[in-house]
Symmetry: D2
Subunit: 217 residues, 4 copies
């Protein structure tokens, strides 16, 4: 029995999950920002897009490449309804007003880290991917016990996924600088709140770890 969370990744029993890195909320033209003028966008989300475009997405790309090279399953979840009108969404998303219609541009993973080949994509309509998809069932079928988490936004969908994954017995590795939310303070608070539920490493650390594994070190 593993009695620590500080366990290095074993690729054959690991998956990398990108959370909500999709046009809706990761592209300046995404529906989440609809109706904002350019100056409003800059004022409200300037810090966010600067971090995202110049720091976080490049780290996600490195993480994705290293995971693929090491044979780690790469998976994606995105906010997307199963319908056009969104009637299948959670009450919470209906109240919030979120609806990413099935098949829409907003529901696509951003090009920079787009899925390739036979990688698995799970549309969801709630904050935690464990509530509105059957990811737990899929991970079991894949033989996955270790979950690497990267995505948006740190203190909402990312944090909910980490909490539930931990409770369900997965060993979770959060790649802290490959997650982002709307302010540094919110990001830092979330990391502190959930540090007891996961292992927290940087992209540099995890990529090095995966490269060592791939090289048979």
């Amino acid at each position: 029995m593993t009695l620590t969370r500080e366990v290095p990744i074993l690729p054959l029993q690991a998956a990398l999950l990108f959370i909500d890195v999709q046009n809706f909320g990761a592209d300046r033209k995404g529906a989440e920002f609809a109706g904002l003028s350019e100056s409003e966008l800059e004022q409200k989300y300037g810090w966010y897009f600067d971090r995202l475009e110049n720091h976080v997405v490049p780290k996600m790309q490195r993480l994705q490449a290293a995971s693929r090279a090491a044979g780690v399953e790469v998976m994606y979840t995105t906010i997307e309804s199963l319908t056009l009108d969104g009637r299948d969404r959670s009450l919470d998303y209906k109240i919030t007003g979120f609806n990413v219609p099935k098949g829409s541009w907003d529901g696509k993973v951003i090009n920079a880290i787009a899925p390739v080949g036979d990688e698995i994509l799970l549309p969801k309509s709630s904050s935690s991917v464990f509530v509105s998809t059957h990811i737990d069932y899929i991970l079991r079928n894949l033989g996955v016990r270790q979950l690497i988490i990267s995505g948006l936004i740190t203190d909402q969908c990312v944090e909910s996924a980490i909490r539930d994954a931990c409770d369900l017995g997965y060993l979770v590795t959060q790649v802290t600088d490959a997650c982002l939310t709307y302010s540094q303070e919110r990001h830092d608070n979330s990391l502190r709140a959930i540090k007891g539920y996961c292992r927290q490493v940087t992209t540099d650390q995890l990529v090095a770890e995966l490269q060592d594994v791939a090289a048979g070190v």
Copy 2:
């Protein structure tokens, strides 16, 4: 509190679910019958295809039309992996050898009752739709409390769905002659085994009931 299963359908809180009525097992060219010569197919599945094509599918069509007319949500589940290689399937499907690759012709609902518009389709990789999809979550979001069941095959995926739906608090109506399995005896045994878990009606009865509702009777 409803204290009987003999409750007529209230369209606004009802859904019709077609189970596995897809090319894989409902078309003579489906992968389930691959490798069988025409005479082997006739010998082994002659009764099944005769019933299916001449009796059951026409009833499914009437059921679908009446449900749509009455404003009942029409949903579909099909056996289909989330991947081409089927690594996300249940251990059971791996043992059985079932793999309907993502996007394949085998995974499509047969043309006779194909989904239209914004109807919901849920790919699954286990016998019970409640285990390998998040249908329970979706039905809750839709406000569905009554589930009408039609599909294939009576004593496997259909029966498992009825058992789980009943346990989860849905009032289930099984349309007995719009379900089918590989022999009359197996069909009848299954109906008897689960008659305590659901209301069992014929297509004629349910279509009349839905027409009365739609007409405001």
Copy 3:
């Protein structure tokens, strides 16, 4: 990856689950038979109690002893509400009229196979133990992958448990003569219906298998 269901029990990853072997339905004084005169009980349930008392319970005892000796986790589920008035039961049990109040004699496992020491007991209020308990979560925490099933009644709670367990990736072994329902025909029909979901063995076979394991054969 295991690609057969015919896998012998590995005790460290196995559990024996007794389903509903409790006073309610396995004792002539159980509430399920309340209101029946002695002659009515004999007429309606004479075959059942004869089989149960003279054949099935003795087999359950052998199964329990062999499992304990081999180090297999022994678990029990019983129909029992979390309340006295049963308001937490499934709609199905409310309709059926089943209520085994919390803490009642009816909810106890029969003395012949009573739990000992630190064995786990899960009260349930639905047909499938996977719907109204968190057994899947517990089995995961225990490291259980193989589930041995014995109990009552073959074509209802036992069959539902086997179907769900199979879908969830457990390798299920049904001990056919340590399960019982109200007629031989119903029992046999259920065994045939689910033979694709599990390995089916007799008590003699499984006890021999467990003894070999315990002896290091």
Copy 4:
């Protein structure tokens, strides 16, 4: 369809859930604080126990009394294993070292708000009560749609419960001053992080609301 979270409590479809208000972590002699000298306890947990004993528990008592008077279902979850040795616990709790043995004093709700009569108590072995109990199933059977949350500790088990409940379609009301964690800063950060998932009110506000309801205002 409710399209706001600011919905007053309707007692017949509401439940009050107390989370982990048990001897283990809410009594100075609880196992969570084992091994600490009196001065260490004071230094590390002085603020916590002062808040708990002098402010939070009295508010919980008012909340409990008002809920009972209004006919709101009162429920409790506590950290408690199903076994003495805790082998059924989540991997997370095994790593953390938490084990509250079945039936132990540590697992009991503190006397100040002890359950009475037929109230429901759910032992759990994970952070979120939705992962290690079947509370979602029970709430459904009870007809509960609104969940009032109070308990310990704000940023762990309380926050996880609110996140999952929200995703599952419950309208959650967090009673902010009837929740507590180990510092004011952590408490405030958590409230901010989840304010989009629930309605947040004080004990005074909720008690007044419940009294109005009970009085038929």
